[in-house]
Structures are given as C-alpha cells and as structure tokens.
Subunit: 414 residues, 2 copies
Amino acid sequence: MSASTPPAISPLAPASFPSLPNIAGVRLGAVAAGIRYRGRHDLMAAVLDPGTTIAGVFTRSKAPGAPIVWCREILHTGTARAIIVNSGNANVFTGKVGRAAVVDTAARVASVLGCASDQVYISSTGVIGEILPVDRVLSAVPDLIASVSAEGWTTAARAIMTTDTFPKGATRTARIDGITVTINGFAKGSGMIAPDMATMLGYVFTDAALAAPVLQSLLRAGSERSFNAITVDSDTSTSDTVLLAATGKAGNAPITRPNDPRLRDFRRKLDSLLLDLAQQVVRDGEGAEKFVEIRVTGAKSIRAARKIGMTIGNSPLVKTALAASDANWGRIVAAVGRSGEEVDRDRLTVKIGGVVIATEGGLVPGYDETPVAAHMRGREILIEVDIGIGRGKSTVWTCDLTHRYIDINGSYRS
Amino acid sequence: MSASTPPAISPLAPASFPSLPNIAGVRLGAVAAGIRYRGRHDLMAAVLDPGTTIAGVFTRSKAPGAPIVWCREILHTGTARAIIVNSGNANVFTGKVGRAAVVDTAARVASVLGCASDQVYISSTGVIGEILPVDRVLSAVPDLIASVSAEGWTTAARAIMTTDTFPKGATRTARIDGITVTINGFAKGSGMIAPDMATMLGYVFTDAALAAPVLQSLLRAGSERSFNAITVDSDTSTSDTVLLAATGKAGNAPITRPNDPRLRDFRRKLDSLLLDLAQQVVRDGEGAEKFVEIRVTGAKSIRAARKIGMTIGNSPLVKTALAASDANWGRIVAAVGRSGEEVDRDRLTVKIGGVVIATEGGLVPGYDETPVAAHMRGREILIEVDIGIGRGKSTVWTCDLTHRYIDINGSYRS
C-alpha cells in the first residue's frame, strides 16, 4: 500500500473559515468528552432561546442510527431548545443501548436547560456499531452547556469534524419585509463516508421569524439542490442530518405559509448557503484532488437529469479518469447509457471545459483534445451533457477517485 | 501515482484454461487484423453448421454499441451461421459509420460462408467512441474464416481478451434422454469495464438439439443467476453480450418447449457453466486481490435480496475494507440500510467467514474478531447477511477495490 501522508488540508479547501456573525438567540459551545478522540472537542451544543422553530431532513437509509430515529420522533413539535452533536461514535446499530443513550442525553440536557426532552435534537457521527460511552457524554453535559457563547461558531464547526480536513461554514444575509436577517451554517462530511465516520451533518441558524412548516418546506427544497446533489462515492450514511433553526429575534412579522412571496430573497440566500456547505463537503471528499461540476440538460425530466448526473458522478471509471486528468468522454457516454433513463445516442452532446467533444452520435469532426486536456489538468472540472430529448436539467457535484481514497478507507479502524 | 507493475495473471485465476472438447458443428479460429493491438489475434470467428439455433442476452445500457443493436435485430431468426468478435475497439458511440461497419462485416462473412447476413452475429470490445477500422476487418475475413477448426477453443478465448489477464473457459456434459451432450463456453471481462475496454462477453455452444425459444429461456434464467449476479465496480458496459448456440448434432430428439422435463440436467449443467464463467470474470476484476461471495437471505423477495447484495458488493467502502482485510461489518450494515429495500435493524444478522458478528440490532456479546480477521486475510471471502423478515434470497459475487484498480483505470488511454 502506497501509504502517502494525508495532506493537512484538502487542496480544494476554501482559503479560510468565514467569519460568522452572531445570531440573536443562538449560543454555541463544545467540550472534550473523551468519547473517542483525545485532546480535542468532541461534544458540541447549540443552545436556542425559547420560541425557536426547527425543521430537519435526514438520511434515507433504512437502518438509521438511534439519533435519527429520535430526531424524527420529536420533529413534530416544530420547536427546539438545543442541538447536541458528538463526534467519534455514530451510535448506529447499537440496539436498545443506543436508543437509551439518546433518550438519557436528551433528558440530561433538558434538565440543565429547564425544558422538555423533546426540545433536544441529537446527532452522532463516527464509528458504526460500537457502544457510545454515554456516561462520558452525560457527565460532560453541565460543562458543555456552560461553554456556550454567541461567538462559538468556529468552535462548534470544529467539534463535529471527524476525518474532515477543514471546518465548513457559510453565512448570508437576506431581506424580509425590509428587515435584514442573518443565516449562518456549518457542516461536516468528508465523503459521506470517511472510514466508518459515516455522516454528513449540517446545522443552519437564522434570526428570521419563520413557522416550522415554512422552515421544513425551505429546507427540503434547498437540500434537494445541494446536499442531495453531491456525491463522493455513492455511499449514503446511516446518520445524515441537516437541521434548520429560526429564533425569530430579527423582528420580521412571522411568516407562516411556505408560499409567502416575502420569502423570495430568504429562499435564494438559504439555497446559496446550503449549496456552499454541500460543495465544501465535496471539496473535502476523501482523497479529492479535483472538484467536478456535472451539468445535465435536455433530459426527459428533472428527475431523469439528476439520475444521469449522479450515474456519471458515481462512476468509478469516470472518477479514476478525472484523477488522471484524462478527458475520457467515452466513459461519460457509457455512464449516461447505463443510468436507466431515456436517452437517444444520436442526440447526445458531451462537453468538457466548455468544449464540445461529441455530438449526434459521434466525435465532432476534427476534434482537438488540446484545450480539453488543459482544462482537465486544473482543480475545477466542468462536464456538460445535453441529452437532447427534453427540458429536464440538474447539476450535481463530485470529486475524483484517487489512491488516497483507498489509503484512507483501507486503513484499519483502530 | 504508485505505478505498480500489473501482475502477469490475476492472483485469483484458476490454475489453467480447461481442455474444451470438440463440439460437432462448431469450428473456431482467429487472426491478427491489426485493429488496435499489435502481434496478437484480435478477430475471432465461430462458424456454425447449418441448422444451429441461437439465443442472446445483452446489456441494459440505453446507449448500446452498434453490434448490440444489430444482434438484437437479427435474433428473431433464431438461427446462426457465425459469430464474429473483434477486440481493441468497441464500435460504440460511432454513429452511422459504426452501424455501417457492422452491416458490412456481416455481409462479407455471409458472402464467404454462403449464408444470409442475418445469420452473422457480431460483437466488438475495446475503446469507446473511436471509429472501427472496418477495412482491416473486411480484408481479414477470408483468412479468418479459413482459420477455423474444431479445436480452436483456446485460440478463440484468447482473441477476445482486452485487459483480461487470463482466458476464461468452462465445459460440462449433460444427459438428455439418455444421450450425452456437451456444453463449452468462453468469456472475457475484467470488471465489465477495463480502461474503456467496456465489455463482458460470453459465448456458449452445445451439440444438443434445442429450439431457439428453449435456448432463450435457459439463457435468460441462467444469466440472471450468473452474469447478472456479479459486479466489479458497478459500471455496466455498452456492449455486454452472452450468446448460446446449439448445433443439434448430438442426436437427441429436438426439445421445443422451455418447460420440457427432459431439460432438467441440461439446465443444471448450463447454469453451472455460466456461473463458472461469470466467476472467472470477477476473479479477473481489475486489481482484484480477493474473491468475495455475498449471500443474502431472509429478504422480502428475491429481487430485494439481489438489490441488497449488489449494494454491498458495489460499496466502495466495503470493497476498500476488503482490500485491507478489515472485517468492517459496520460498512456492510450501512450498505444494507441504504439499499432502499425493507430491512429491520433489529432483525439483521451479519456473518463473515461463517462467524456471527452482529445480530438483533447489535454486536454479539463477547464478539471475538480473531477467527474473522484470519478469514479476511484469505483470498476467498464469504459474507452472509440475513435480513430476518422474509424468504427472499440471492447470492452475488464481487472483488475488492485496490490501488491497482486506480492505476489501471487512471492510466491514459493511449
């Protein structure tokens, strides 16, 4: 095994973690509970003022972790006082003991905050199938809650990392009824998958006043075009979670209908923030050397375009070619063909880096690979496929498949 | 890139190519047409006596190669006089020129043999999107047809190889009405995918007298449990083809109904041969170091069991763990969960090498990894998953994902 030393930070990382402004009603903190890691924070809390509304989207896995089951159960309340996240142990496939760990943690946090247990959302990320040392979590709760502050964003974003090589954050402002509201978010994920660190997590906060059903609608739609439009290696986690909380402190008149036209700017900014976070996850894809955007147009439907894009983005053949800077359009065509979606070979157009390579069933006459080869050697790759039979379009993002992916995922758990 | 030298032959290869007996009515040969490779045979012919019946199954790709389209068109005749296969160029995504190449080749072979064009089946395997130098094929046809002999099995099996590290063959005998019939087959494939050598091909011949609809029924069912139950990297080819031809020379009374009870032994032996060939393809999986059998039981249906098995077998996380001899059952559970099929976390049982690791929602008490770790270090790995909710079962075969896979597929086309 070519045991190359992992780079400190992904070559695709943003220059720095953004400066996230305070959001009234949100305080964050973290402590070192010693769950698995030594000498680093591994337990994070976001404490939310009373009256905060919340929405969530979760993994589609049929074998989700105990925290996912818990969050789904309490989401109907539409309100939250705290979000607790531990890293190092995913509390997945841990049976009744895993369930009890979640219930006990929620109860302990609730008793310190003086709220109901069903106001406490919990996520866990890390090794699957090992029992979470819940006593360490429970005894750390008082210190954890005492640690929170309005400035704790970077601390929180770092505490939830597992194999991530950089913390992921984003911030936006939006106007609602002439009032400026803020949206902050942070996320973790390094391929949805990292060596058993099987999770993509995202937490987004705003001071806007938005009813829970509005949040849920916004989050569901926004995730579809961001967190659900990325892939590192086709492996979906048992613990994927994105939560969106709104404290209502900004002073706008509460919005209660998802189709309220006053949401226009907020929706746009939220979508932008979710996409930013999702793309940062791809940029931290295990072993990633290239960030790849795949735009599919002209498909039968949006769903078909997504499926085709994901089939290209998940193809080991396409991804190894990308790693080798090989403009291997034949593999792209093969992926389109096996997507299962309707395609007409003779109407297909493939572009790389904006250059048309193949169209109408064959290579363009006099195709010159030089500009395409130059594009392929870069860090940011654009693949465009037009199916030529409809109006469905979708864009997905992925990274290349390198030796480091195998090094990272082949290394033994302990 | 850790440019390890490819081994001459896969470490999982059988000891040798089997000795295939003659089959009355079948003659095989090959020539070096110089399509892409130098100094080796790259054009193969199987010439079949008049009266030979034929059946075929093909890729489900929606962008298949020109030869696939041709074979599907002529299959209704149910009879064949020749099968022609070239390696080095897949004749895929080559538009009208690609179509013409197939039609012209069939016509040339037909004129030499004195048969109709629609009696000539054609397959191509190799680079996608490059124009097949059909003139080299056409001018080689007379020598090709002149080269055939009853003993040409090994020559034929070698001529169709692309990145394969060994030729793949199998033979069986079966009894029909007290008469012994022979079945020979050979195949190529090295992950369905090889660097653009995107194809799995299989050709099976028997001297039994079987009507075309009977052959089709036998081949479809047998492929489902063999060629459709293997995966190297989830990438399906644009050219996958399996043909089954029957010369009728063995002397049994022709069988015309697929449910004829006299087919019992033949079906069993054909299934065994197809599975043998399919498993040889997995054993030649690009970079493969381990041969992996995944048995799924207790699923809601056979289809669900197959889907769960394939999700495990296609998981890059599972496959990199296998390469590292890591008994990482958590990744297996995660794959089961995201298969989309109905599962109950608390009824799931996972075994590796026959040892129960996890059951009823958690690790078995006092789990000792020692025997499992020893099993994982071997060449042949057995994973068993019982879903615990139904009677559906299915077995699939795969290999591990190693650095060599990336070396092979990341190397530039030329």
